[in-house]
């Protein structure tokens, strides 16, 4: 890789970083507005037009709150917990392909932080690190409720990561690659009959796997109906009971970054990532419209980025919609669902996929 394209890639990483933060910021706003609308209310509408400055006001509030340390808490770990949660949440967005590559003459800029051929494994590794942030924070606060929340988070993540991994294996059997970019590129026809572009998405080949994956994604991001680690009716605030000011803000923020990453991964794996229907017609159209080849390609790719983000936003909306619809699971129900239903189903899904591949029904 030349020095110049390395610089470009660094820029992309920064942009991805900024965009994840921005989206997480406005997730806090969207969550409240959506919650309000689902309950026939109005939601925040005081700060700025439509309350759009609300996240800003929240940040100011959190930064000016008292920095509180419980007595007997391990101070270093107490600070380290939320930092780790935030870092791991942000790190996983690095390998997600938000678009194909842009061309400027000889320079090629991939719209992806880093392209590695084990992208999926990388994400899994980081996500399982993420639970340390919660565990360390919960343990270091020297509070029984926090500890219980932390333990719940740990066991929940372990249980559901298993089912999630098994659901993914079925996708990987079809793609034969761990690279998220490859998986995306496979979910389209290169030319040919274009209306069926949508039906190349994995969600149509892996419906069962997708259901398992999305249920696990809810559990991994600790979102309702699986938000047992913070379960305010039983555990006060769960692992962040003792946290105040921006440390608390980091925890809440990390949750939204996680939701963003989870939906991004979901759209890459199951919804064709940056592919969109009629994309090659669009490219043909651009080429015929008299644009230079580079610019036609770039516009085509940027539309893909828009498509990707539309998929992500739909996913985030779905996460919030579910949160304000379903009640929380009980802990034993959660464990039973994970171990006795999702894991066997995921294994069945692998067998099914294997059979279908062997008999060339799907590939």
């Amino acid at each position: 890789m030349s020095l110049e394209s390395l610089g470009w890639q660094g820029l992309v990483v920064l942009v991805v970083f900024g965009v994840s933060l921005l989206i997480a910021t406005y997730c806090t706003y969207a969550e409240r507005v959506i919650a309000a609308f689902l309950q026939d209310r109005v939601g925040p509408d005081r700060a700025g037009p439509f309350g759009l400055a609300q996240p800003l006001a929240d940040a100011v509030k959190l930064f000016t709150k008292e920095e509180f340390f419980p007595s007997g808490a391990n101070k270093a770990l107490f600070i380290f917990g939320p930092c780790l949660a935030m870092i791991t949440a942000l790190m996983s967005s690095a390998v997600i392909p938000f678009g194909n590559f842009l061309k400027f003459g000889d320079t090629v800029v991939h719209l992806q932080g880093i392209e590695i051929n084990v992208g999926m494994l990388y994400i899994f590794g980081i996500v399982s690190l993420g639970v340390y942030g919660i565990m360390i924070g919960g343990w270091a606060s020297n509070n029984k409720f926090s500890l219980l929340g932390a333990i719940r988070a740990a066991s929940q993540n372990i249980s559901y990561e298993l089912a999630m991994g098994l659901a993914l294996i079925a996708v990987l059997m079809m793609s034969g690659s761990l690279s998220l970019r490859d998986i995306t590129l496979q979910q389209t026809h290169a030319g040919g009959w274009h209306l069926s572009d949508i039906f190349t998405w994995n969600v149509f080949k892996q419906p069962l796997g997708f259901v398992i994956f999305i249920v696990c994604a809810f559990a991994e991001t600790n979102r309702t109906p699986f938000d047992l680690p913070e379960c305010e009716t039983e555990l006060v605030g769960g692992y962040h009971t003792e946290y105040s000011s921006m440390k608390m803000g980091l925890y809440l923020f990390a949750e939204y970054v996680n939701v963003f990453v989870a939906t991004a991964v979901m759209s890459v794996l199951y919804f064709g990532g940056f592919n969109y229907p009629f994309q090659y017609e669009f490219l043909d159209f651009l080429n015929k419209a008299g644009l230079s080849a580079d610019w036609a390609h770039n516009l085509f790719v940027l539309m893909g980025v828009v498509a990707m983000f539309m998929k992500i936003f739909t996913g985030i909306f779905f996460f919030m919609w579910v949160r304000w619809t379903l009640p929380r699971f009980r802990y034993d129900q959660l464990m039973r669902l994970g171990w006795t239903i999702l894991i066997p189903l995921a294994i069945f899904n692998i067998l099914l996929t294997g059979g279908l591949i062997t008999f060339h029904v799907i590939q």
């Binding site: 689902l38 309950q39 026939d40 209310r41 919609w321 579910v322 304000w324 619809t325 379903l326």
Partner: protein, 192 residues
């Protein structure tokens, strides 16, 4: 046990069907219900009252902030009999009685009047018993005013300055009061 009304419903606990056990159909049903609410709210039928701009109408029998009434000639009706204080279950009312001086007949209706009269709005439960107890129809709970929030506790002790129905010294003729200049000054001082 015999049921007292015949409205009791017999509940049977049937084993769940496969669709019920799969849980997903129920989830989609729930999701569709919340989505209906989403669109209802998005098309501006929210139930929220945007408070400072909109207010809800008070009920006509609402019991709000007290007022000490004056009579038709603008004289204070209260005779400091203390019945309201006795009736008050929250012991929110205190008063000091005084004798009406000569020349004050235009200020106080009875020979005895309340020199000071205080209601502690933090103690008051707005039950309206004081209003019922008063023989002189002097104290009422207004249906359109609430005791507003304040920062300090002692600001909740309402004295005569805030309780007595206001009459401005300048429109006294309209209310039929004849004040001497000194009395007008005193009243101004009270109102200030």
């Amino acid at each position: 046990m015999e049921s007292l009304s015949n409205r009791a419903k017999k509940l049977e606990k049937k084993p769940m069907t496969l669709a019920e056990r799969a849980y997903l159909p129920a989830i989609f049903q729930g999701l569709s219900i919340t989505m209906q609410h989403f669109f209802r709210a998005a098309t501006k039928k929210q139930i929220t009252v945007r408070y400072p701009e909109e207010t809800r109408p008070f009920s006509p029998v609402f019991r709000g902030l007290h007022v000490l009434k004056r009579d038709e000639q603008g004289r204070e009706r209260c005779t400091a009999c203390g019945l309201c204080a006795v009736a008050c279950p929250a012991e929110a009312i205190t008063m000091v009685a005084g004798e009406r001086k000569k020349g004050e007949q235009n200020l106080y209706r009875e020979e005895k009047y309340a020199v000071s009269y205080e209601i502690n709005m933090l103690r008051c439960i707005f039950c309206g018993l004081c209003e019922e107890a008063c023989p002189k129809a002097a104290i009422y709970l207004q249906a359109d005013k609430m005791a507003p929030p304040r920062y300090e506790r002692d600001e909740f002790i309402y004295g005569k300055d805030r309780l007595v129905e206001p009459v401005s010294p300048d429109n006294r003729s309209k209310r039929g009061i004849q004040l001497t200049p000194e009395q007008a000054d005193k009243l101004r001082g009270q109102l200030a």
